[in-house]
């Protein structure tokens, strides 16, 4: 990898370095349940890939059961905010409201939910999860460009500064574990980007470079 430095964009290289670093640190000490849920998230990512979407997928788990799943839909919707997490969250909000749950009950529900997602939630999704007050997030590979759970910002830590007037902490924190089945997640992304994202704007540097290694 390193000897091909000229052939990789610095971002790609950093992305892979990070991913490898995380793989080594976490693979092996996950429970079978964790791996099973992540496998389901990866299946969602594959669905995204089949629809020519950036392959990221997720499932939300409550009491050991999958209650929602989501995958990237940014191309289909032409809305770049339709990430896997947002899709899954919307399913739950609609479902729980249909069942007549109050806001407090919905907040209570989210506070018992686990999210399994193939790639570290971006800053937008991490903020959403913090606003909703999710209990825990497990992710696959790190998101070196947009990650909101440690890579760029650490929104999962919540805010330590209490509000002046109310003494309520800003945004809730949540437990966050990365590097679970990261190699699978990265390999999907790599496959996708190597064949060229047809929806991305024309690149600054020739794509052929990124596809040669």
């Amino acid at each position: 990898m390193a000897s091909h430095e000229e052939d990789c964009s610095p971002d790609t290289l950093a992305f892979m370095e990070l991913a490898i670093q995380q793989m080594a640190s976490h693979e092996g000490d996950c429970s079978p349940d964790t791996l099973a849920f992540m496998e389901l998230a990866i299946q969602q990512a594959r669905l995204a890939m089949d629809s020519l979407e950036v392959p990221v997928g997720c499932v939300i788990v409550e009491d050991g059961k999958v209650i929602a799943s989501g995958r990237n839909r940014t191309t289909e919707t032409r809305n770049a905010t339709r990430h896997a997490e947002m899709e899954a969250i919307d399913i739950l909000l609609e479902h729980w409201q249909k069942n007549g749950l109050s806001k407090l009950e919905v907040a209570e529900k989210f506070s018992n939910c686990y999210l399994y997602v193939t790639c570290e939630p971006c800053i937008m999704c991490a903020a959403s999860l913090s606003i909703l007050g999710i209990k825990e997030v497990c992710y696959g590979c790190a998101n070196d460009k947009f990650g909101g759970c440690g890579s760029i910002l650490s929104l999962h830590l919540g805010s330590s500064e209490p509000l002046k007037s109310h003494g309520v902490p800003q945004g809730k924190g949540f437990k966050c574990t990365g590097g679970i089945m990261a190699s699978e997640a990265v390999s999907l992304l790599r496959t996708f980007y190597e064949q060229g994202n047809p929806n991305a704007p024309k690149p600054h540097r020739p794509l052929a470079h990124q596809a040669t290694h």
Binding site: M1, N79, T81, I123, A127, L163
Partner: protein
Amino acid sequence: MKKNDTDRDRDRWQILYIPDKPPIPPNQQQPTVNVFASIIDPKLANTLIRRLNQIAPLENFRHVKRIRKKQLEGGKTELLVILCLASENDNHLDTMQHDVRELVNSYQLSAFITKVCKFPASSKEEWEEQCKLWPTSYHPPTYNIDGITGFNEEDSQSVFSFMRFAVELAKSGDGSVTNAAVIVDPSVKQVIASARDEICSWNIPTNNQTSSFKQPDTWNSINYVLVPLVLYPWRWSEQELYMPKSSCWHPLRHAAIVVIESSAARDRQLFPDLGENEHKSFELDHVHSSTSSPAKRQKVNLENVEDTEKLDTLTEGCHSVAARPYLCTGYDIYLVWEPCIMCAMALVHQRIRRIFYAFPNPNAGALGSVHRLQGEKSLNHHYAVFRVLLPEEVLSVEL
């Protein structure tokens, strides 16, 4: 009636640029840090980097490349790697962290001290200087965006009128403090989409209540029935008692998120066949991919993109190719309140060019107040951010 200077100041519209970071004085030596580095055998690069990223990650120096490729005389190259950070005063090798030293010993590396730049470059010139020491990565800032260096009279008037529109939209609600967002195509001065917060409810008829907007420093004097979610987005679950049972609610439907959704819907409506064409071109590309070289594949793909554009010109007639941007490329957004970090990142994703907001949000604002997302160099898109100061008369409402 004549007004004194203070009154005139208060009554004046103004546009302030909110920079990525406080400006650095020119001609100033860039701060550096010491690192231990070593020449390595290229065959070992993979193994060593893997190991070094585990035991000595360069956490706060993401702009610094771990590896340096040096051109030697006679066309030879050598590979150098950063082992770990070094102390600023004591340059003895013994100060190297234990596990890195073990690595150095077991691979018989010869470590030496060198300097790398402490902070990411904020200009091409800075970056070129940095690379003389040790290579870094550089993400160009948003200098080429109109308005950073000032607005002419016509553009200013246009900015003010769109902000006025956003404020009127925010005031048209039920009296609660809410944000409003307006996406504008500045090249034709046309509103692409507009929305208000839909956190508590939507599709609900508005009451004709009197409401007023005040500058943020007077917030505490206003008696709220509702928690203003613009300021406290994470307190969405606390408003149970005040909400009509029948209404829909969604804690994440902030104005910016809703307006992105409607601009995307507009795009799908105006250019319904775009997706299909892209689909076809990509499938074609897919079929070829097993037999042709990557370079050739790329060429095929580009040809198809051109075809798609031609096709669109023919079929769309009234909507030229130029009117069909990738997401919101080239568009501006006007927000009454500084967006939270979720919305600020959503606007990065949707490729907004410029953000104008009227009120800073001291509790949740992500463009200068709590976070400064426009200064995050790692992002793949950067917008320019402006605050628009409003005259007080714009804030009060007569209903």
